[in-house]
Point group: C2
Chain length 333, copies 2
DNA sequence: GCATGTCATGTTAGCGCTATCATTAACACG
DNA sequence: CGTGTTAATGATAGCGCTAACATGACATGC
C-alpha cells in the first residue's frame, strides 16, 4: 500500500503538501494540487486516517449505542445521527447493547478505545464503571430517549412515563374506563417499565378501575408476543374496553389477535400502541399511538455533540432538550 | 488523558509489559499483571487502539455497507455480522448508502481511510472507481444479497430473480393464472429489478397471461405505497387473481388496502410478498412470502471475512456461498 | 532599495502504541 | 560449576501522518 510519502515523491513535493491538498487547505497552489491528485490517482493512494488522528488528536469518530438495530424506532434515531453527521467529517461508530447495561458497559469501553470525540447513549441508566469511564473520557456525552435523574452530561429525550400517561388520559377523556396494559416481563427494558409506571399513575390519578397488567415475553416484545398477551387479557378480563401496548409492534399483534377472534376493533375492544411505527399508520384499523420523534432525537443529539466538539470553550452542557410527544388518535380507539 | 507510559511508570514496569498485559499475553507474571491492572484502574486508563493499530498494522475494523438501516431485512444482516464478529476482536463499521451506488462509492472511500481488514457490500453493482479502490485495497471483500456477474472477490448471496420466479411457480401450481406485480419505479433498487425480471420470466416460461406490472414509488417502497399500488392494480385489472409484491412491506400495505375495500384475501384476490418480514407471519391473514435468511447472510459473510483475515495464506476466495431461499405459503394465497 | 508582508512550501519532531530483538534471572543437567 | 534452556522483562525503533515552526520567493509600499 502506498503511503503519503510515496505520493509526495511521485508528485515531487513534500508530504506536508500532500496532507494539505487532501485537507482542501487553500495553502496549496492550483498547479501543485493538480500534480498531487494526479499522483494520488496513479498510485491508487487512500489516506490513512488512523495515522492522521494519532498526530492530530482528532479521530473523527462519534460513538452511539442503541438497544437494538432491528427496531425501526432506534434505527430512525441512528439515521438521524448519521444524517446530521454528514459533511462534518465525523463518522458514526454504532453498536447495540440488546437492552443490557452490562453489555453497554463493555461496548462503552470498546468504543472509548477508539477515542471517539463524543458519544450518544440510549437511556439514563448505566453501570457505575460505565459512568466513571464516561466521566473520565473528557468527551461530550448525550443521553437520549429518557430523562435521567442524574444526567452524565447532555440530554435529548422525553419522559416515557408522561407520554404513556398522556395516552391514558386522552383515551379516558373519550370515555374508556376499563384499561389493560400489555408489556414485557423483565427489568431490562427501563423505558418499557417507565411506560408501565406512567400507565399505572394515570389510572390512579383518574380514579379509574384498577389497571389490568399483562407482562409477557422478554423485551422488546414482538408482534407475536403481543398477540399472545392479548389472548391473555381477553381470557382473564373479557370486559376490557381498551388495551394499551408498550409498543406499536405488540399493539399490532394484539390487533391481529382480535381479528382472528372475530372481535371488532374498536367496537368490541380498543387498542393503542406506542412509538408511531409505520405499521400503526398503515394497518387496518389504523392504530392510535404516541409519536416520539425518534429521528429528531438522533438529529438533535448529534447536533449537540457537533456543537460541543466544534466549540469546546462554549459547551452546551446541562441544557436539556425535551423532544415532543404527541398522541395520534386513529381508528383503533 | 493518561497514556500507557503513565500506567507503566505508575506500576513500575515498562510499557511493553502493560501492552502485553492488556493483550492477555501469557508472557506476564501474575504479580506484574495485578500491579498493572491496579495502575490502570487507579489512573482510569483506556487503551488507545488507533495508536496501537498504527504500529501493529491491524485496525480491528470490518466495514459493511447496506442499502438502509431502517429495513429489518438489512438490519438482520447487520445483526448477523455483528454477532459473528463478537469475540474476534473485530469491530463493525456500518454505513448505509440509501440504494445509491454513487453514495456507496464515497462511503467505500471513507471506510477504506479507516483501513478496515475486510469489507462487506450489498449487491454486485458498483461504480468503476469503487471497484478499483476495492481491488487495490488488498483486503477481502464479500458481496452479499445477490449473485454478481463478475464478483470482486467472495460472495454470499442468492438469485433474486430465481427466488421470485420460484414464488410465481409455486402459486401457479395452486391454480392462479392472472398475476400482477407491485414494485418500485426507478433503476436504483437493483435487487427489486431482478425480482421483477424473475417474475416476468416465470410468467413467460409458464405461458401465463401477460403479467400486470405496477411500478410505484421510489424504492424501497413503503407500506403506504404498496396500498396505493394495490389500488392501481384493482382499478386497472379488477379480475387479477394474485398480486405479488417486491417486499412484504408493500404486500402488507396492499393487503390492508384490500381490507379497506371489503375484498376478502385470498378469496377475492391473493397477495404474496418477499423477504419474510416479521409482519408477514403475524398479520391477518398471514402473508405468503419468500424467506431469504438475511441474518444468515450476515453471519456467513462475516465468517468468510474472519477466515480470510485469520488465515491470509489460505484464502477462501472465489468460493461462492449460495444461501437458501424458500417459499413460505400462508393464508394470503 | 530595503523593510515588510503574504503566500507556498519544506523541515522537524512526535503522537501512543507494538514488533523485534536484547537482556536478565532462575533453574536444570551432566 | 559451566552450559543450555526457559520465562519474564526491557530498550529501541518506527508505524504514517500532521502541528508547529522555518524558509524562501515574490510582491508591496515608502
Amino acid at each position: 500500500m502506498p503511503t503519503m510519502a510515496d505520493v509526495a515523491r511521485h508528485a515531487g513535493v513534500s508530504s506536508m503538501s500532500v496532507s494539505r491538498a487532501l485537507k482542501n487547505s487553500d495553502l496549496v497552489s492550483e498547479a501543485t494540487r493538480e500534480r498531487i491528485f494526479k499522483a494520488i490517482d496513479e498510485l491508487g493512494y487512500v489516506l490513512d486516517l488512523s495515522a492522521g488522528s494519532l498526530s492530530s488528536k482528532r479521530t473523527g469518530f462519534v460513538a452511539a449505542i442503541v438497544p437494538s438495530i432491528n427496531n425501526s424506532n432506534f434505527a430512525d434515531t441512528a439515521r438521524g445521527i448519521t444524517n446530521e453527521l454528514e459533511n462534518t467529517g465525523l463518522q458514526l461508530l454504532l453498536a447495540y447493547n440488546e437492552y443490557s447495561v452490562e453489555r453497554e458497559e463493555s461496548l462503552i469501553e470498546a468504543m472509548l478505545r477508539r477515542r471517539p470525540e463524543g458519544i450518544i447513549l440510549t437511556g439514563g441508566i448505566h453501570t457505575g464503571r460505565a459512568r466513571r469511564m464516561l466521566e473520565n473520557a473528557g468527551i461530550p456525552v448525550v443521553e437520549t430517549w429518557d430523562l435521567p435523574a442524574k444526567p452524565i452530561d447532555q440530554v435529548v429525550g422525553f419522559s416515557n412515563a408522561d407520554a404513556m400517561s398522556l395516552l391514558v388520559k386522552t383515551l379516558a377523556a373519550k370515555g374508556y374506563r376499563k384499561f389493560a396494559y400489555i408489556g414485557g416481563t423483565t427489568e431490562r427494558d427501563t423505558r418499557g417499565n417507565q411506560r408501565r409506571a406512567g400507565f399505572q399513575a394515570a389510572i390512579a390519578e383518574l380514579g379509574l378501575p384498577e389497571g389490568r397488567v399483562v407482562s409477557f415475553g422478554v423485551p422488546p416484545i414482538s408482534m407475536e408476543q403481543g398477540a399472545q398477551a392479548m389472548g391473555s387479557v381477553l381470557s382473564q378480563w373479557p370486559d376490557t374496553e381498551v388495551a394499551i401496548c408498550v409498543s406499536d409492534l405488540s399493539a399490532f399483534g394484539a390487533l391481529m389477535e382480535c381479528h382472528r377472534r372475530g372481535l371488532k376493533v374498536p367496537k368490541d375492544i380498543a387498542v393503542a400502541g406506542f412509538g408511531n411505527y409505520e405499521i400503526a399508520a398503515c394497518c387496518h384499523p389504523r392504530i392510535t399511538s404516541v409519536d416520539i420523534e425518534c429521528y429528531e432525537i438522533g438529529r438533535l443529539a448529534a447536533r449537540k455533540l457537533i456543537n460541543t466538539i466544534q466549540n469546546p470553550e462554549h459547551p452546551s452542557r446541562s441544557e436539556l432538550v425535551l423532544t415532543n410527544i404527541r398522541v395520534i388518535e386513529r381508528e383503533s380507539t
